[in-house]
Subunit: 149 residues, 2 copies
DNA sequence: GCCAGAAATGTTATACAATATCATTTTGAT
DNA sequence: ATCAAAATGATATTGTATAACATTTCTGGC
């Protein structure tokens, strides 16, 4: 994934809807993009701390979590509850009914369109008067490579 | 749900497959059954500690987590990742393709059969060589009552 | 019954995850 | 320029979970 392009499009997306991709948020999104798969909050914390150097103050957890909340709320990241982790969402702008298949062995993420099965799933929820919070579904499991290995 | 009956059936289920519902595990399952919806690990910790009294030693987290792991592995509980919580599974023996709709406002849980939509979901996973860990799906959201309220 | 290995539990300590609270700075609108 | 809102900094604390090792309990073979 081309990080620079992604960041540019993310910035446009934000301004278009009146929210702000501040330097801090941008930086953290950039760090997340540098990962190939899962990103963890405290990992970002350490990265950011390292970048700032020892003299430039300490990065505290709320700094990270606030940025992550923003990025998730705006669709740039998905949270993987089962692993207390996050993954970049490659197509934040489109309306996508997708599933993200997260391998909890190697951390790789595979995206799959699932308009059909998810459609009937959400429909079923609504039939029971239930308003699900998630639009996309994040599933954990074992990917092909890790099964054979 | 009749807790005594449930515990009896759970015990049978365990012996039938050569695993042991020990007094500790049984106790924790019983505590979980006493809740109407979500149960949290440290809540169980405090309950168990209270039951044992102050003189009978201290209950430590691993005691709880090991029991919870067992109960989840054997299908008596489901873990709700999004909330770091657990819910009792009312029908552990049946092969059930169900979704559990967990209201993160009031904690109530609603079970819905979703053989169709889940079937196509799991099928899609396998088509991509992905082996999901979950059989049931646990979704968080807002229930009907909490929407109107 | 007795013993050896396995399973379960106890114990201590620590790592990881997340939030509450309040102070300070930056931003955008008037 | 000023004010209010948004964002960030800073401090402290709570909640969640596991590692590592000791001890006890159970089980099957003798």
């Amino acid at each position: 994934m081309d990080a620079e392009l992604y960041l540019q499009r993310a910035a446009s997306h934000c301004t278009a809807q009146g929210s702000r991709l501040t330097p801090l948020r941008r930086k953290i999104l950039q760090l997340a993009l540098a990962q190939s798969g899962l990103v963890k909050a405290y990992q970002l914390l350490h990265c950011l701390q390292a970048e700032r150097g020892l003299d430039n103050g300490v990065v505290a957890p709320p700094t990270i979590y606030r940025a992550l909340d923003f990025l998730v709320a705006h669709g740039f990241l998905h949270r993987v509850d089962a692993l207390n982790a996050y993954v970049v969402c490659p197509h934040f702008a489109c309306e996508h009914d997708g599933i993200m298949l997260v391998c909890d062995h190697c951390g790789q993420v595979q995206e799959v369109d699932a308009t059909h099965s998810l459609g009937s799933l959400w429909q079923q929820c609504h039939q029971h008067g239930f308003q699900p919070h998630q639009r996309d579904l994040v599933l954990t499991g074992t990917c092909q490579q890790c099964q054979t290995a």
